[in-house]
Symmetry: C2
Subunit: 209 residues, 2 copies
Amino acid sequence: MDLDDRRRQVPNIVVSRLPLYLRALTHLADRGQAVTSSLELGRTLSISPAQIRKDLSYFGEFGKQGMGYEVDRLIRALSRILQLDRSWDVALIGAGHLGTAIAHYAGFTNRGFRITAVFDAEPSKVGQRLGRLTVRPMDDLETWLARSRVGLAIVAVPASAAQEVTDRLVRAGIKAILNYAPINLEVPPEVRIHHIDPLIGLQAMTYYL
Amino acid sequence: MDLDDRRRQVPNIVVSRLPLYLRALTHLADRGQAVTSSLELGRTLSISPAQIRKDLSYFGEFGKQGMGYEVDRLIRALSRILQLDRSWDVALIGAGHLGTAIAHYAGFTNRGFRITAVFDAEPSKVGQRLGRLTVRPMDDLETWLARSRVGLAIVAVPASAAQEVTDRLVRAGIKAILNYAPINLEVPPEVRIHHIDPLIGLQAMTYYL
């Protein structure tokens, strides 16, 4: 069984938790903490310690019984597993309020994601500066993607335009999409999509109010 | 045991999954589907059917063995459990690119969350229109919150200002915060906080690229 087969064997839900572990560990490292445990991570993340140990066991042995995890070592391992030990170029679609906010978001660049082009359908936006970038016309999308070989895109267009934009991205070879539009987008099974839905966060809090 | 005790007994992780179930069910209802199963929901959400059945069982009996769930009935039940059968007023802190995008986000109003005030520390922003609202000065925050009795706030200020803003919100009685700043915020245990971190989504996708 080669590495690709092994990667495919890990359930999606396990993979989706790894960035949460990485964020909690980075937070501990920033505070200067060298060692942690599945118990401590579990408390921070509201995930059971047994679940955390099981998730990590898909990828090898990271802790010694009763000794906990070395924070730095586990950060490096998770970064490698998630392929974050390199930088990723990203195309941004939409230069409205949201696209502008995303283009200026410090959190991406600091953590290895670099927005390398911004596209908008609005003629008045095309040619405008957005941070280091100049807004490109949507007509250039396919040509630019073919040349740049970028595999990741962020969709920040109105809900009414989001599915059409997504279809064009998929046809142009984009393999992973971060969607900000408040709509469920359909993509073929080989394309990954992640929805940013602030409602999910609000709705989980109103339970307690 | 009264209702409040019963609510507190449900693990946070279970509560945090209810909005996901609600979103998947709403998607099915929009497509005109009347009945679903834990198997179908599980496939959509990458959560095991057993987990879904167990989560829902905290709140009562929603499906009949072998008959599945009535989509509309389960939507109504989850909305009631999450207290979404009413509307919620929200204060927005930050009127920059991100705050502007949030103020214009259609997804909130359509689903029962109404932004009723926007605050910014920048004198040049104060008094400007943002959709239906006029940006208020941060100096007015405490007075306005005391009068309005709003319990929810969205933090959309730069990372460097986010903790100070959060401390002021907490002291003024805010009980739940949706945080967009790329920083981990500290709040007392009785205050709920949810972080919108687009990196988590991107990082879970690079695994597969």
